[in-house]
Every structure is written in C-alpha cells, then in structure tokens.
C-alpha cells in the first residue's frame, strides 16, 4: 500500500506554546485513519499544516507526495475538507453552496448538475435544496459540509469530527458512506472523540496529546500495546470463601461468578505486586481447578486513555 500522508518530525510553535512537537505519522492510501486526542492536543493544527494553512517551524510533511509548503494548491485540488466548523455559506441555499464548491473545483455545466443531483440524493438533502443554509439545523449544516467535501470526488478526505451534531441515523449513514469511499480508494483522515466510531470504521489510528504522538498503529495493535495488564482467570470449581481469600491476598483482584451459583468463576486480576503465575499458584494451593488464563480483551477506550495519560507506544 502506498502512503497518502507522511509526516516526519513536524513541529510548530504559536508564540511560547509548542502546538506540535516532532510529530511522525503515516497514513496509507485507501485507509480510514482515526486521529484521536483531547481538545488542544494538536489535531486541527496537524490538519492545517497538511493543507498548507500553516507553515511548520521544523520537520517535513508530504501529502500525495506534495509538500504543503510549496505545493499546497496540488494537495487542496485533490482533497475534500470538513474542518472544525461546517463552513457553509449561510446566505446561500443548500444547492448554491454545493454549486459554489463544484465551481471552485472546476465542475461546470451538465457535469455539475449531475453531481449536485447525486449528492443531494445521497445525503437526503433534495427536499431542502432551496432553503437558505443559515436556516438549517446544526446537524444538517454538518451534513451539508460533508456533502460539499466529497462533491468533487477527492482522493483524500479530511474530516474534523464529521459526525458531531448528526442524529444517529445520519451518523450511521455517513460512516457507511466513508467505508464505501475508502473501498473506492479514497483515503479518509478523520479526527473524532467518538472511540466507538473509530472502532467501527477505522483501519488504523493515532493518538496525539500535547502536540506529541502517543500511539499509532492498527486498532488491534493499539488495544494490545496500550491496554492495561489485566488478566482473566476462569475456574471450574470454586473452593469456599475464595473471594475473601483472594481480596485479602491482593486487593486488585475481583471475582465474578457466572452464570449461576454452580457455574464457573471468573477472576479479574491486574499484575503489579504479584504476577499472574503467583495468582495461579495461590488458587491451585487452595484447591481451585483453573481452566483458562488469558489477557482481558482490551478496549480502545482503555488504550486511548492510557496513551494520553503518559504512555508512548508507537507501532
């Protein structure tokens, strides 16, 4: 797979504040890439640098092989962007907004008519085509912003929190659209706070905090590498008063009995003072029949939170 975006050691300061500090990032062509981070982490600054709206103090950035410092016009020609705000012209109608950006992107005549029609249908905007955009709800404006971004069939789609303000049905439809676009070869670079969204549609993701990359990789890599050190131990027959004995041995142990009184016991344990083998030995000494030992399935939220709280782990 070829690279759509390659960022190496990118840094920028705003006065005394370092907004990005040596950021490295790679995004493959045709992938859906999630860019995660808390507010003020540097996500929007990264997007602005990629599009040539800011000039970095150090490092390099290549988008589609072009340098945003000198060839940003070539990047923007092949990119559709929905930035922090929907950026719709409120004094123009829905259709006029689409036509404006069609013309901006050199579409005209019949080709423009056809494409605007397709987009109005795809985003269920046809019945609002003559409404002034200023009269649309926040969600509808967001939808129009996304529609405008994909109007000219860009190679790269940069979306800053695209489902923010959308109702669940529209958000689900947009996610499906993004997946379809990626299947058609469009690279999608999206920032979001919705980890579930990343889990559903992204191939790879990166976590940024305080202008520094904290983690990057496929979602499974992120889960594995940045997850906690929790283990799950399944016991078939539980000796009496096991729970009390375990919590007395190590307070970080929790016990869950499922599904019924005589069913298996599941012990959750986080390594620290004791290792998982210490726990297994403890259980066997007390007559427990240990069936299975394994790491707890790590979720993306755990991975994200552990990344922004100080860990650095780049795949």
């Amino acid at each position: 797979m070829t690279e759509m975006i390659r960022i190496e050691g990118l840094s920028i300061n705003f006065g005394e504040t370092a907004a990005l500090r040596g950021l490295d990032l790679e995004v493959d062509t045709g992938s859906v890439f999630g860019f995660l981070g808390p507010n003020g982490a540097g996500k929007t600054t990264t997007i602005r640098l990629m599009l040539g709206l800011l000039t970095p103090d150090a490092g390099s950035c290549r988008v589609m092989g072009f340098d945003p410092r000198t060839e940003s016009h070539r990047i923007r020609a092949e990119t559709g962007a929905l930035l922090e705000h929907p950026g719709v012209y409120e004094r123009l109608t829905v259709e006029e907004n689409l036509r404006l950006f069609g013309r901006v992107n050199r579409l005209d005549g019949v080709a423009l008519d056809i494409r605007v029609g397709e987009i109005l249908d795809r985003f269920d905007l046809r019945h609002r085509r003559d409404d002034l955009s200023g009269r649309l709800s926040k969600g509808m404006k967001q939808k129009l912003g996304v529609a405008r971004a994909i109007l000219h069939e860009p190679k790269l789609l940069v979306l800053d929190e695209p489902t923010s303000g959308l109702d669940p049905a529209s958000a689900a439809r947009l996610r499906a659209d993004l997946t379809t676009l990626a299947a058609e070869g469009v690279t999608v670079f999206l920032t979001t706070h919705d980890l579930d969204e990343v889990d559903r549609i992204c191939d790879r993701a990166a976590v940024i905090d305080s202008g520094m990359l904290k983690a990057a990789g496929s979602l499974s890599e992120l889960r594995e590498r940045t997850g906690s050190r929790k283990h799950r131990i399944r016991i078939r027959e539980s000796p009496p008063a096991l729970e009390d004995a375990l919590t007395g041995w190590d307070p970080r142990v929790s016990v869950e009995v499922t599904p019924g009184r005589d069913g298996p016991v599941v012990v959750f344990f986080e390594e620290g003072r004791h290792s998982v083998s210490d726990l297994v030995a403890f259980l066997v000494d007390r007559g427990a029949h240990v069936e299975e030992v394994g790491p707890v399935g790590r979720d993306l939220e755990t991975a994200y939170l552990s990344s922004i709280s100080g860990g650095v782990d780049v795949a």
Partner: protein
C-alpha cells in the same frame, strides 16, 4: 486565476443579492435612500457648480468609496467571524483569485452606484431653482476624471480594506481600523500643511490656486491611480494562506 476570480465574485454577489432581497432589505433601502437623498439634495440646491467645479471630483468618488467600505471589511473578517474563512482557504482557489474576486465584488457595485449617483446629480442640477438655458454637463476632462476617480477611490479603499480585514478578528474591529486609517489619510496632509512654516504654506497655496485646473485634475488622478495600484499590489502580495490568522 480568472476562473477563481469569477467564482469568488459570484459567491459575494449571491450573498449580496440575498441580503438585498432578504432580512437586510429594509436596512439597505434606508442606506440607499440616504445616499440618493443627500447627493440629490445637495446637487439640487448647489446648482450647476456641483458638477461643473472640481467639487465633483471629490463628492462622487467619496460616495462610491464609502459604499465599498462595508463589503471589503467584511471580506475576510466577516468570513472569519462566520467560520467560513478556513473552508475557503482549504479549497483549491488560488490566493490571487480570492483577493481579486473579493476586491472586485466590493469595487464593482460601488463604481456602479457612484456612476448612478453622478448621473442623477447631473440631472438634478439642471432642475435646480432658477435654472434656465441648455442642459448642463460637466466639462469633458472633469467628467472623465470624475468617472475614473469613482472607480479608483473604491479600489484604493478596497486595497486598504483587504489589508485591515485580513488582520482584524471581527468586522467591527476592521471597520474601526479602516475608519482610523481613512481619517489619518485625510488629516495628515492637512496637518502637514498647517504645521509647515508660514512662507512654505503661502507658497503652496499660491501654487495650487494659480495652477491650471486641468493640471490639478491630472495630478489628483495620477496620485489616485498610483496609490490604488500600490495598495492592491501590497494586498495581493501580503495575502498568503500560511500567514492568514484563523480562529
């Protein structure tokens, strides 16, 4: 670049047309009535001197320039305020296309309105009290110089307005900054003349009053052309995406 200029021009015009036909209709009608009323009222009572003397060189270009102020301060500061500037900059439009398109969208209506007011003034002076005789029209040099200045002065204001609007965080701030700049430009020559030694001041006044009117007109015209194009050049060269302050 001209494709981009046309697109930006179209966008600004659509927005203006919507304003005229939409919520701002009443406000714009009042402003238009004020402009028409004041200029025709003055022309009616001043008589032919209003359009036959160098006063025309000042009055109508100034009216046209004042019409260009609002759209030009709104050009970047307004887009920034409405959160559309970043989207515009993230598009494939060229830097020059954006600046020239926005400048023309402010200058063309101002030029058109200035010409209409000037023509109206010429008609009205012919209807002024006690008027008789043939239809009065400004002498050719004055006529064409006034027409040229009606285009040049808004262009000059637009150049300054783009520079101000690019830096201002809000439209209100841009209006204040441009207002100060215009007052400074008008007052500085006056202050310089008044502060000059008496002999120099007298010499200056004698030279100006004894100069041929045609010469003065050409001088004013040349200065306006030079300033307008210098400011436009600065505005175009200063506008670089990577340097425009965003939110």
């Amino acid at each position: 670049m001209w494709h981009d200029v046309r697109v930006v021009f179209w966008k600004e015009w659509k927005a203006l047309a919507d304003q005229i036909g939409g919520d701002s209709r009443a406000g714009l009608a009042i402003v238009a009535a004020l402009f028409i009323g004041l200029s025709t009222f003055a022309a009616f009572f001043a008589g032919p001197g209003w359009v036959e003397s160098p006063l025309a060189l000042v009055n109508y270009p100034l009216l046209a320039a004042s019409i260009a102020i609002q759209p030009i301060v709104d050009s970047f500061a307004g887009e920034r305020e409405r959160h559309t500037l970043e989207t515009l900059l993230a598009s494939r439009l060229s830097d020059r296309g954006i600046v020239v398109g926005k400048t023309l969208a402010a200058v063309v209506p101002a030029f058109g309105a200035g010409l209409v007011l000037f023509a109206l003034g010429v008609v009205v002076v012919n209807l002024s009290p006690g008027r008789s005789g043939p239809f009065v029209v400004p002498p050719p040099l004055l006529l064409w110089s006034t027409v040229a200045l009606i285009g040049l002065l808004p262009l000059l204001v637009a150049g300054a307005g783009v520079l101000v609007s690019l830096r201002a965080s809000t439209v209100r701030r841009a209006q204040q900054m441009l207002g100060f700049a215009i007052v400074a430009v008008v007052l500085i020559p006056f202050v310089v003349v008044m502060a000059a030694p008496a002999w120099l001041r007298e010499e200056f006044i004698t030279t100006v009053s004894s100069a041929a009117p045609g010469r003065l007109v050409l001088l004013a015209l040349s200065a306006a052309v030079a300033l307008a194009f210098i400011l436009q050049g600065i505005a175009i060269s200063r506008f670089r995406r990577g340097r425009v302050p965003l939110d």
